[in-house]
């Protein structure tokens, strides 16, 4: 009897819809607390460099007065958020911001703007589609 009952459970499972989220084609809901990439409010940033000093993994480095991130080192722990005295640095998650790169050099990048767009020193911001450069989708 003990042998039959598991078979009944598996038989029942055979006719159920899979729980799979067909990822690239459909996406699951992700909590807003997930930390996947940094953003920096460049208006309130005080150029103090505390985030860079506090980062245990040496991810953040100061360049032209603003922190830049080397994502090959990042653990996404958010200690830089706690350390920032003005709260300029934040971490966000959007599905488009899964960082996947073919070359390790591409992992070194400027922090995004607070609205999730790419920061460009010359132009204030460029379009959303540019954020995916080097990514898969």
């Amino acid at each position: 009897m003990g042998l039959i009952k598991p078979l009944l459970y598996t038989l029942r499972e055979l006719f159920r819809k899979p729980v799979t989220v067909k990822y690239p084609y459909e996406k699951r809901d992700i909590s807003p607390r997930v930390r996947n990439i940094h953003t920096l409010n460049r208006e309130t940033c005080q150029h103090c460099g505390i985030c860079a000093r506090m980062c245990p993994n040496n991810v953040l480095k100061m360049k032209d007065g603003y922190p830049t991130a080397d994502y090959s080192r990042c653990s996404f722990c958010g200690i830089c958020l706690d350390a920032c005295p003005t709260g300029s640095i934040q971490m966000i998650h959007t599905q488009e911001h899964n960082i996947v790169r073919a070359h390790s050099e591409d992992l070194y990048m400027e922090l995004l703007n607070p609205d999730g767009t790419v920061y460009n020193p010359e132009v204030a911001s460029i379009g959303q589609d540019e954020t995916n450069e080097g990514g898969v989708f």
Partner: protein, 158 residues
């Protein structure tokens, strides 16, 4: 339309068929040495199910195509990684997942950690996916990137 039409594959061009085939059947070596291995397990299991794309685990290096570097490289494990890589038949690919194999991640500055997988294996990885650990979607994207790079011919010997 959720199945991948073999785009750019010309049935008369054996090379393009082969590269499509190689990209569609990537078996990663079942070799866990870090936190990210739990997320690789999660990616294989029902919620994400990377077998949809033909990515499956292989238990012995002889049958594997992909070595997924998924954890901190302690000095003790270095010869084992090199040996496993040597045991894998060509063509073989390397995917780097998480911060540890790229830079030591949270363990940089430790006396027992090799900070870069490229010092150990002398191969250029196909895809880098940062995170500690990255979520399973990220791992799936890394595999798809590897697949696309094989298809394009921009990675690996064909």
């Amino acid at each position: 339309m959720t199945h991948e039409v073999p785009e750019g594959v010309n049935p008369r061009d054996i090379a393009s068929v082969l590269s499509w085939v190689k990209g569609s059947s990537l078996w990663n070596l079942h070799f866990c040495f870090g936190c990210c291995s739990t997320e690789i397990a999660a990616a294989m299991m029902p919620r994400f199910d990377i077998e949809r794309f033909g990515f499956a685990p292989a238990d012995t290096p002889r049958q594997a195509d992909v070595l997924v570097a998924n954890g901190p490289i302690a000095r003790k494990i270095v010869p084992r990684i090199q040996r496993l890589w040597a045991q894998m038949p060509d063509p073989k690919y390397l995917v780097v997942i998480g911060a540890c194999p790229m830079s030591g991640g949270p363990y940089q500055g430790s006396y027992n950690i090799v900070t870069d997988i490229r010092d150990v294996l002398d191969v250029e990885p196909a895809a880098f996916i940062p995170g500690c650990p990255p979520n399973p979607e990220g791992i799936l994207e890394a595999f798809i990137m590897l697949k696309n790079r094989i298809k394009e011919g921009s990675y690996g010997r064909n």
